[in-house]
Symmetry: C2
Subunit: 608 residues, 2 copies
Amino acid sequence: MTERESNKTNLPSEFICTEGKHSLFENAVRELPIPVSSVFMGEDGNIVPAAFEETESLFMCKEHDLTEKTFPKTMARTRNIVLRGVKQKTPQKVTGKRVAVLFSGGPAAGGHNVLAGLKAALGKDNTLLGIRKGPKGLLKGDLFEVKTSQLNEVINTGGFGFLGTDRTKIKTPDQFEQVKETILKHRLDGLIIVGGDDSNTNAAFIAEYLEKESIDCRIIGIPKTIDGDMAAGKNLPISFGYDTATKVYSELVGNLAEDAASAVKYWHFVKLMGRTASKITLEVALQTKPAIALISEEIAEKNISLNQMVDDIVRIITLRRMKGINHGVILIPEGLVEFIPEMSVLIQELNKVLAEYERDIRDLPTLKNKQEFLYPRLTAHSAQLMAALPEEIEEMLILDRDDHGNVKVSQIETEKLLIEKIRYKASEVKRHPEKYFGEGEGKIPATPEQLQELQNLSLSTQSHFLGYEGRSGKPTSFDAAFTFALGLTAGSLVLAGKTGYMAAVTDFDKGGTILALPLTGLITCEMRKGKEEMVIEKSLVKTSSPSFKAYAENREKWALNDLFCSPGPIQHWGPASRQMPITVALDQEYTDYKTFNLGEEKVIKLKD
Amino acid sequence: MTERESNKTNLPSEFICTEGKHSLFENAVRELPIPVSSVFMGEDGNIVPAAFEETESLFMCKEHDLTEKTFPKTMARTRNIVLRGVKQKTPQKVTGKRVAVLFSGGPAAGGHNVLAGLKAALGKDNTLLGIRKGPKGLLKGDLFEVKTSQLNEVINTGGFGFLGTDRTKIKTPDQFEQVKETILKHRLDGLIIVGGDDSNTNAAFIAEYLEKESIDCRIIGIPKTIDGDMAAGKNLPISFGYDTATKVYSELVGNLAEDAASAVKYWHFVKLMGRTASKITLEVALQTKPAIALISEEIAEKNISLNQMVDDIVRIITLRRMKGINHGVILIPEGLVEFIPEMSVLIQELNKVLAEYERDIRDLPTLKNKQEFLYPRLTAHSAQLMAALPEEIEEMLILDRDDHGNVKVSQIETEKLLIEKIRYKASEVKRHPEKYFGEGEGKIPATPEQLQELQNLSLSTQSHFLGYEGRSGKPTSFDAAFTFALGLTAGSLVLAGKTGYMAAVTDFDKGGTILALPLTGLITCEMRKGKEEMVIEKSLVKTSSPSFKAYAENREKWALNDLFCSPGPIQHWGPASRQMPITVALDQEYTDYKTFNLGEEKVIKLKD
């Protein structure tokens, strides 16, 4: 009997041991060390909670009076002063605290390390409780005690699967009452809310409510969102999950750029997740150097119309063709439509008409009837724009509404809208070369041979949407370290009796500085769906930022030459495993993005 | 001035150095060592070409007489005997040979290492020429001499970008004449064709043609296809590119499984590339353990109808819901439609009618007219099936035809077809619970509370297509080693004067055995589009294979419990970087899939 024959039956059974997140990779990442900032390092090398002291940094609310009126108790307490985490001088033993944690909104890589960090900060003398399925679980009181053994199983792994998440917003008096009941029933001393801008706004309101009700439970927010729009300059360069998501997308965009250059015929149109900000698109563009990347904030700022955008893109496609490059990658931020000036006007008009004539629109039997009803009620400019949209998009705008009766902007297939408009325009360039080529302003020089060749070229397009696959990947080394630090910070804040703060980490290049940002300091007043609301402001791409400038200064070169990078799959070992987002490094004016430094590395094994 | 201020301007300029495939990752992978089989190791540690000897292994053609009639010269020469690569006993210096190489068909990871391997085998005394843009470049004579410095730049990187590729088929006498002209003009002693089944079939025909024309140019094929359908049992366990593509897809499917379990509401429907075989889907299923994976070959073999398939899937969705799991991942092979018995009949009927009445169909003005014309010409069963398809799919079947006038099967959005059918069926289960729940055969036991809960559940679906992003990724360590070995083998074969073979490597678990497979031995006679053609047979999933059995034996458990794995991004360093495809390890009856062994590792720096 040969070796193979005798072992024949072993492999199938051995392979089954990988079930339930025990692939070779998953088992190995659980053992990876995590850097820990010095403020959490105890004398004996064990992890200890940090203490906090006030800094000189004070948040100036954009709407100070309104914010103070809305959050009087919290503002009186925090005075909007940023706290800094410091090493406890004489470690104080806090015991018997019960702290619950929930995930809110879409998953982001590193959530499980937040839990591990929390547990490590609370230690064995306090209790960590997990809230199942997000804010809904908080309302229903669906809590359980988290065991260290469970966390050792999920540390460094992706997703929010250990707790689950949901998108329930806590707004009504009844809901606040339910939160109170859960807190009292489970005798919670602290509640950690891991979420984006809306969830942290929620955290601020809950903190204020509990103070008013004289309930002694600390509320701490943790900045999560792959979109990267939850950030606060030097105090919080970025939210967690952004690094992993952008690196997953960069791997795929790099592969698609390679694919375009290999098959030498495709234009890959890639829509990237990110409801509002184009921060994901900017990071992926800097990582991969595509032919074209659209940045919504710039388009709104410069008032670039849809037609202008299409003309610009077709011009680049044509210039590349003149150089023999009939392929490329175009990055499109998911939220683009709302930033295109005339589309934004159309959507606003539609929302208004749809609200005013809800019943009419609903009851009119056919799409044609609805169109007949709608068109006269739009401005001429908007009506003309809508009539020129691809049929499916027009249909979607009229028929698909969200719970508030508004157009579902996020579902508009922007990439397909652009593809259709670009194909139309590119075909015009072929049909009327005299208008586009030759001498004279705005015209492209071309030889007769080039024009002949152009007639033989076709525009092969492929559309892609990169979204869900970036939310639940294994955290990069950076996100793994960042989230563990955020968990340690949040746990320390609760033990230090702080409430109404968001945990933050900065100085990613030199060991990590631990901060606590007063939630009220981040809040501003925005018009949302026609109503004034107190919300945490989204951090958008600034066209004055170093990261945007790095793109703007190089994009012409990337447009006209195939200079793309394929930055590869996320590495957890080896020389490429310690990178941070390039946009963050540029905007924070770090000297390096290839190696972050968030403290001394430790293999984390939680002990009971 | 602080350290940051003084360095402020360095980072943007430093970052620009990454342009054109010089990201940190790309620079690092170029330096990675590659295992080299002992037969290519010279006395001095340098790489040398292998020699070849006949084995006892003889390919029995399925259509021996027909093959011998079609390929008399080649068959007389190779006698369909498999050759084995051995270490040259007394190294013979072959010099002055000119060998050209082309990529054909879709990109696959590792193509650049094939070139590096070829160059290393040919050494500095022979010339490697690259053919630009695939077979079309061969016809046009678009060749250039490949420099070692160029290959050192692309070694271990992804895609076919260095040469480009296309899908031109060489079939007509004129085309063969053009191939001859190019060979004579460039004085080629060898031509290496890197491609899939069609391209290697082409290689066989070119080899025979050249022998007939008494032109002394060796033709060697190299088995490339991410689909994995180019394989020959123990002699060639798999084609190159499969490992990388399946690992890219497995990363994403694992992330989506995490995402489903985190958001606790989504069913992700994932269509996976693979025109015919379901080998990619099977590998990804074994890697990720999804709720459901459809294997086309099984569906055809068991004659499972579309409705039966939908019923089975909805049953699993319902059983999971009974256990509180309202989410999951469903894998769908791209080629599924053609394997569903009644769909396959419908497509055949349509192709026949569309061919017979081409003019009528084209000239009828509206879709409705075309439908009126088509329906009476189908069998009643097919007409009924087509009428029940989603509108867009029906439209696509009627309107979109390929160059041969056939239905474009690959463009049918199978995942959307399934989603629509499944939503319809799942809604029926909710509307008529009495038919599906309770006691009795085939019914699902449920408590009144469970049935109540079911009414509150909605089916949130997301569809994905994973394809292009898997073709041009950086080769895995396995594909990097495999392709370098294939290149070394092909180069050695040309130098040894062999023609009409395909380079192959086997015994991935013990150093790699180098083989040359007679192309004619792989050829069979198939009906393609109504005509008999001599082609290399596609290797499909066998339901009797260990890999399929490993899936079949475990799928019920994976269907009813969330036991998924998230095998993570491809690692090029660290403990997870040496895996091979699990399907290959199972079917080859290896004892391990975690560590391949293709020889001793060497950092490859080609020298002039």
